[in-house]
């Protein structure tokens, strides 16, 4: 991440070109990170959201436990079921996360920058010997660390409850798969964190920034599937009803839907938490040649399958952060 950012703020080594700046842009970074993290963890809004996630985790695990106790001996990936199994009235824990994580991330970041302006602390903090780079990256990292801390705690909780409830330890592959799932979840949160920072830089009112962030989230959660099918029908119309046309339309639809971080996240988690999944979307008979239906993929193959989704999540996080960075660097610091 640092590589792409340092481009605009290379520390000048010696008396060099007029544009160069002296001193490391990361001076004071850890002071900002530790202060912001302490703020995040002690803030009331974080505590509310933590309780919310905790309740869903306990609820989901409890519901799943009722379901899977009977099949413990047959299922080699019983621990992964804790994350993915839905049982009425509870949706799967993964489903919960896909809309709770954006909420937490936006709650952390929506007032990151404009909050400093409205509290009139911005000019005072920037008058200290630090660059703006350190302030923005510090706030972002603090948000990401907070998110990681909360999610890791919940991951451990679920694993612990699983061990207690099922009476057996998870095997290595289950741990590896669920850890990759954890990383994907953190970067899924990272996207919304960076988006929240963009809005908190653009809008001077924290309330406006929060609303903007939530609207984007709502748009992708509810409306994106409608937009996707509408766009697919316009871009790749089925005129004669040929199989190629139908296939092309489906592919277009899938490509467009993957612009949404939600789709990327759901596919990534599906790929890593469900070893039986060998492809996303449409599966042609030719792709199934020689496959044993329902047989689990090895870990490396599952990772390969969800790799584009995972890198997509990370890339989107970095891109959005870079956008926030550029906007913030250009902003006038007037008290």
């Amino acid at each position: 991440m640092a590589q792409s950012l340092e481009l605009s703020s290379q520390p000048a080594p010696v008396e060099a070109p007029a544009r160069g700046r002296k001193g490391s842009p990361w001076t004071g970074l850890w002071a900002v990170v530790s202060k912001e993290m302490a703020d995040n963890l002690s803030s009331v809004r974080m505590q509310i959201l933590e309780v919310l996630i905790l309740l869903t985790a306990v609820g989901a695990v409890y519901a799943v436990m009722q379901n899977v106790r009977q099949t413990v001996s047959q299922d080699p990936f019983i621990f992964l079921r804790l994350f993915t199994t839905a049982r009425d009235p509870f949706p799967a824990f993964v489903g919960f996360l896909s809309f709770l994580v954006p909420l937490i991330a936006i709650a952390i970041s929506f007032d990151a920058i404009n909050g400093e302006f409205s509290r009139r602390t911005m000019s005072r903090v920037l008058a200290q010997p630090i660059y703006r780079d350190a302030l923005l990256l510090g706030k972002f990292l603090a948000g990401l660390f907070t998110l990681s801390l909360v999610l890791t705690a919940i991951w451990l909780l679920i694993m612990g409850m699983g061990i207690l409830g099922l009476g057996l330890p998870p095997n290595g592959e289950e741990v590896a798969r669920s850890l990759i799932f954890l990383v994907a979840t953190i970067f899924y949160g990272g996207i919304w964190l960076a988006l929240g920072m963009v809005f908190s830089t653009v809008f001077r009112q924290p309330a406006t920034a929060a609303l903007a962030g939530l609207s984007v989230w709502l748009f992708f959660t509810i409306f994106w599937s409608m937009v996707t099918s509408l766009l697919a029908r316009t871009l790749s119309p089925v005129t004669y009803g040929l199989p190629e046309e139908i296939l092309r339309q489906l592919q277009t639809e899938q490509a467009i839907s993957r612009l949404s971080p939600n789709t990327l996240y759901v596919e990534a988690t599906l790929g890593i938490l469900n070893p039986a999944v060998r492809s996303f979307g449409i599966l042609l008979p030719s792709q199934l040649e020689g496959a044993v239906m329902g047989a689990p993929l090895p870990l490396a193959q599952s990772v390969l399958l969800m790799w584009p989704q995972l890198t997509g999540l990370i890339a989107a996080t970095i891109l959005l952060f870079a956008l926030a960075y550029v906007l913030f660097q250009r902003q006038e610091i007037r008290a």
Binding site: G20, R120, P129
Partner: protein, 331 residues
């Protein structure tokens, strides 16, 4: 000061002074709008300079450029021999800045707010704790050191802001509207503090539009309008230049008004005599002319009822200057 036509002025108060802050042809444009226009400013060590002007005159923009928080469109700045645009960290480590309406993290205590600043300045933990304690004690906030800043009054916040400056042990302090919104007592206390800091050898640049307050503490002032520094110098010097004298003597006397007026006008050192209302006269002179005026009035058979003197005030200099400037007398 007896010489009426003094135009030279600008005799530096002390010889062989070290220049700590210098701006040359400093300009800042926002699109077509010019916020700061060819500003030239030189501060020597240990002096208090007042940057005066109405709201929106470009004072804050100037300050931000001096700190390297905004890049100048043209011109150069040297602070302690460093360029704030190139080497902002070194500049900001040695310059303290108190913004107007200073803000703190309300949910954190005074101590926590200051330790964040100490960490940003890279101070070691134990040294930082000692300095925080000392700064808080000096500003009289020891009682409330562990209370959240959200409960502080405006005056307390301002003092906490100064405690933060002391923490950094700066060589230059820049204050933007430091007495704005303070009650008269707190403002007086603040001005006293500025004098103390000056005695410690700290150079202070402060901006304000509350002229009478600034007048009391500034060695030199600069009048700022529409991004331009119109005139600068010591207050007495400016009074001499702009008001042509500066001492206003208010007289109440009964008798023949015409005789009194012409007698007053004949006094040496008198610039102007105005007959204000019934039996009231105002003399503008270049020194305290009370005794001369009294004897002049008695001399023409009038009886003196009241006599008062007003020292040259910045407000007046300011008002006169800008009135004349808009009339095109000075430009």
């Amino acid at each position: 000061m007896v010489d009426k036509s003094t135009k030279s002025a600008s005799a530096p108060p002390k010889a062989a002074t070290e220049v700590v802050l210098q701006a040359v042809n400093l300009t800042k444009r926002y699109g077509a709008a010019v916020a700061v226009d060819n500003l030239n400013l030189t501060l020597t060590r240990g002096e208090v300079f007042g940057l005066l002007g109405p709201n929106g005159a470009g004072k804050t923009t100037t300050i931000l450029m001096l700190l390297g928080l905004t890049e100048p469109t043209a011109g150069t700045v040297r602070v302690l021999g460093l360029d704030p645009a190139r080497d902002p960290l070194a500049v900001k480590a040695r310059v303290g800045y108190l913004p107007d309406s200073v803000g703190f993290y309300d949910e954190l205590s005074a101590r926590e707010n200051l330790s964040y600043i100490a960490r940003l300045n890279g101070l070691a933990r134990t040294a930082a704790q000692q300095r925080i304690r000392a700064a808080i004690d000096r500003m009289g906030l020891s009682e409330v050191i562990d209370r959240p800043v959200g409960t502080f009054s405006r005056g307390m916040r301002q003092r906490l802001g100064v405690a933060e400056l002391l923490l950094k042990e700066p060589e230059i302090i820049i204050m933007d509207e430091p007495t704005l919104g303070l009650d008269p007592e707190a403002a007086q206390g603040f001005l006293k503090l500025i004098r103390e800091l000056k005695h410690e050898g700290i150079t202070i640049l402060l901006s304000s539009h509350l002229l009478h307050q600034v007048q009391a503490v500034c060695d030199r002032v600069g009048l700022f309008s529409h991004g331009r520094m119109m005139i600068s110098g010591a207050v007495a010097e400016l009074a001499q230049r702009i008001l042509g004298g500066g001492y206003r003597i208010l007289i109440e006397a009964s008798g023949d008004p015409r005789a009194i007026q012409s007698a007053l006008l004949a006094l040496p050192g008198v610039k102007k005599v105005e007959a204000a209302e019934r039996d009231h006269f105002v003399i503008v002179g270049d020194r305290d002319l009370r005794a001369d005026a009294a004897s002049a009035i008695v001399g023409v058979g009038g009886s003196l009822i009241g006599l008062d003197v007003e020292a040259p005030s910045l407000d007046e200099i300011y008002a006169t200057y800008f009135k004349e400037a808009t009339n095109g007398a000075i430009a």
